[in-house]
Point group: C2
Chain length 555, copies 2
């Protein structure tokens, strides 16, 4: 049995090693066009930032052995051929045509089973003078080295794209002392990952590090003599000594497409749940292929190193004669940007509405552990749920605290189609250094239950803002303490601290619209309940309170 794998990074390397373990008699050859293999591309921003000193660390096992062809031969029993490109695929005759750059020779390799792990490439939009030196992408080890060389303290960098890789690169370049501007076509950072109000929290934090964030800004091209000097946008020119293009990734599918393999609507190679392509005996895994959303059931392209490893295992087992299934993903992403962590699992509110769900949401900011524990740090959660059955569709989390824990718990819960009720009763670990007695996720799920049952009636900060701008006649009721109100407040809000609300009911009109809020809106909700009970007829609370209010505050 001859198994050929095209691509020796996360998915391909994993598939090859797993296939060999499953079927030790199989001869396994891995072809890669690059000279570096099995490197952790996700680590590049940390190498650029000098958080990781040596590029070898990105290509090593945890005990420091470099994963080079010798390693794969000796340890994994797998032949790796580098600097060789698979240029054509003749699946009727089960042959791959190879071209070796150095020698300029063409050769053919027979296979019984073929695994495509051709990965993805940074999207390079057709912009004017896009080829100028000093305009880089973040993907290969060669990119990494160039980027690290050109990240010179005091110089100006412009990152195009405020997605995951864009923001990681922003941090890296700022840490190297560069003056960084990030330009994003959409009206927020992390489009697709965070809804607008959550993105605002992150954007504010990024600005505190001296980074200029330009959203709703479209790049038209570049200018410079022999090297990039300027980024041209619809909002003016930006001076830049270094430009990083981070506008997305496209799957490398030319080999597959040219051979007639089915390409999915997302543009990536279509596969079934055993990662079989449309052609017998050819599998695909990693960034080059599609996967299924476990939330919506639809195919999508989500290139991630974590998914690549899982798919590589499944493709390797199946190609070697075993039987494994890759179920799909819920859509989890996470990123650290300076001291903030931001993540998402499942669907954003925007995506859920676009998919046709009747959506309920919760905004819930709170400390990530017992509030009296000195290392407690705030995180803001946003839950997105299906009103029909209370099922959690998505979670977003932003803040300096332990965002990753809540994202991973929610990813697990969403995998099992958990409802608000089930999440609110999860037996999560509690001790003051790790969580509050009621974990952030459980508090948020309780609010969700209160909303779904009609006990709690929330209104989003955006809706409040729109009412203010339309000069609607309503009372924005601040139920915090006088001290909190003194420190920061929303202009025009009326202060009636929760502790005296029951005594001061007469100071409020019973039939006027009232929107109560506090710091996080637990007191806001309590105020709604007190006013409801007192016969007020039109009371709601503002989701997330002042902590997730994305607009100006007075202080």
């Amino acid at each position: 049995m001859k198994i050929v794998v095209i691509g020796a990074n996360a998915a391909g390397a994993k598939a090859a090693a797993k296939a060999k373990r499953i079927n030790p008699k199989a001869g396994i050859t891995v072809i890669d066009q690059g000279s570096f293999i099995s490197y952790g591309a996700c680590g590049i921003p940390y190498f650029v930032a000098d958080t990781v000193r040596d590029e070898k660390e990105l290509m090593s096992t945890p005990v420091g052995v470099v994963r080079d062809p010798a390693f794969f031969r000796k340890v994994k029993g797998v032949e790796v051929i580098t600097e060789t490109k698979a240029v054509a695929l003749d699946w009727r005759n089960k042959k791959v045509e190879l071209w070796t750059a150095e020698s300029g020779t063409t050769s053919f390799l027979d296979y019984d089973r073929l695994i495509l792990a051709t990965g993805s490439s940074p999207l390079v939009p057709p912009l004017e003078q896009c080829e100028l030196p000093g305009i880089l992408t973040v993907k290969s080890m060669e990119d990494a080295t160039l980027l690290k060389q050109q990240a010179i303290s005091g110089k100006r960098a412009c990152v195009i794209g405020a997605g995951l890789i864009g923001l990681e690169t922003v941090e890296a370049l700022a840490l190297r002392g560069m003056q960084v501007t990030v330009v994003e076509m959409c009206d927020q950072v992390l489009p697709g990952v965070l809804d607008e109000e959550m993105a605002t929290l992150l954007e504010r934090h990024i600005r505190t590090h001296g980074v200029q964030v330009m959203t709703s800004c479209r790049v038209s091209g570049f200018a410079g003599t022999g090297h990039v000097e300027k980024v041209m946008t619809d909002r003016g020119e930006i001076t830049a000594d270094l430009v990083v293009l981070a506008v997305g990734a496209k799957p490398n599918v030319s080999l597959a497409r040219d051979a007639g393999l089915r390409i999915g609507e997302s543009g990536a190679i279509a596969v079934d749940d055993r990662l079989r392509t449309s052609v017998p005996d050819i599998y695909a895994c990693g960034d080059c292929c599609e996967t299924t959303s476990l939330v919506t059931g639809k195919s999508m392209h989500v290139p991630l190193g974590s998914t690549a490893n899982k798919q590589g295992r499944v493709a390797g087992i199946n190609a070697a004669g075993g039987d494994a299934v890759f179920a799909g993903v819920v859509g989890t992403t996470i990123v650290k940007v300076f001291e903030f962590n931001a993540g998402k699992t499942g669907l954003t509110e925007l995506a859920a509405r676009a998919a046709g769900y009747d959506v309920e949401t919760v905004l819930s900011p709170a400390p990530d552990r017992a509030h009296f524990y000195p290392e407690a740090k705030p995180i803001a959660l946003k839950l997105v749920a299906d009103r029909k059955d209370g099922r959690l569709l998505g979670l977003q989390a932003v803040g300096p605290g332990a965002v990753d824990k809540r994202i991973d718990v929610a990813a697990t819960a969403i995998t099992f189609r958990a409802t608000a009720e089930q999440i609110s009763q999860l037996d999560l670990g509690y001790a003051p250094p790790f969580a509050a007695a009621m974990d952030n996720l459980i508090v948020a799920a309780d609010i969700l239950k209160n909303k779904l049952s009609g006990h709690a009636r929330g209104v989003s900060p955006r809706e409040v803002r729109e009412k203010m701008e339309a000069e609607e006649d309503f009372i924005l009721l601040d139920v915090r303490s006088p001290g909190e109100h003194e420190a920061t407040r929303i202009a025009g809000a009326k202060l009636v601290p929760l502790g005296v609300l029951r005594e001061k009911l007469d100071s409020l009109p019973k039939d006027k619209e009232i929107i109560a809020f506090c710091k996080i809106s637990l007191r806001g909700y309590e105020a709604q309940k007190i006013l409801d009970a007192a016969g007020f007829t039109n009371v709601r609370f503002m989701d997330g309170g002042i902590l997730t209010w994305p607009y100006e505050l007075e202080s």
Copy 2:
């Protein structure tokens, strides 16, 4: 509608507030025998350590408002009567008899619905001279204050019991500069929470902080003139200026038992899934009542602040006329001890075997994030699964890294009866600052799958040790690098680095028993596969490698 709640801590306070929100017309009275209410007892060790300076922080809301009777009256609309004990319950006439210590008066309170939230008390075993001054427990604010006063730097403390509260107290007293000895009757720390080999990892760490850990040591009594001076044990006397009893908690059930309410086998008040006791219109919640294990389906008593809050909500809703269910717990506990975190969810191996499961286990130590990320810290995981269907029954985790995240994900997975296959494909958040591309839990689940399918054959460190002690004829094969072997090794192990194993097959006898290991035993497993493929007939690998070897090492 009159609702009376006995007990104004986590469960009682939550139940009262929730009941009022559900039914604002209900009159709600909470009775508590103490003078401090709604305090975070779990925070006491941090108050003693001075990590939390002011005891008020333990009794405050996150915005600093003290949760005293005035707070409950003004904000929650609930009457709280402190320093008053419920001494008898006449459920036929729906009356509670109260005794107020200060005035020495008896009174009666009628109810329509009664919620028992009487909590738990530290177990005080009948030991000789147990009443000597200087012998304290950790539960009330009065305990906390005494303990903080007596935690004097340079003096000697002896903590009896190496459970969760015992170890938190050990840390607190050591941080205050005391010389601390901890005495535990069982042969390990955290009995019931960790299996032996996992407990050893934690115990080693505790010793590095100068704490004397005495396991398998039984206390018979105390000695001293006017104040404790000595702890008498079956392993000799221990000098102590301060003794802390932390041998467990017993539910406060005398009021319920005297009134004839059904008490469960665990000794706590029996309740159904709506937290109804055996008597109509009486509910129980929190530390005083039982709950159901979602793993085994059996009733148990697990007093925890997290569960108390969830149960309080359910009891409050039901008492107020709503309908809510408390499903049960999977059995999650977590503790920080110095720089180590240790946690458990579901069943330990010991508990799973005792419950009759056919058990498979995995020991898997690894960095908690990308190994090249500088803040990566090791954690060791132990999975316990049902061989019949691959369902995860339990996870234990120990180490300086993010133990809590993996415990919470596993708690969620166990709630939904997840299998190794499902856990191995969880779409957990990946970026180098948060996890490796393959999260620790996914790596461990993959090993579990390999074991369940027969591909991987593990042997526990204990079994290896027993073979060594019995002088059995087998090869303990160290497949690490020469450098790693030079630094630390298991006595008697034979070194054949994985990278040269394929070349050196002739140096090993084909039919002799071989047990391969490395640092974490991923290479150990690879060695097993290489030797299997080469026709060796009796090869296994040692679970967890040298990192979870709990016995001596040479260096």
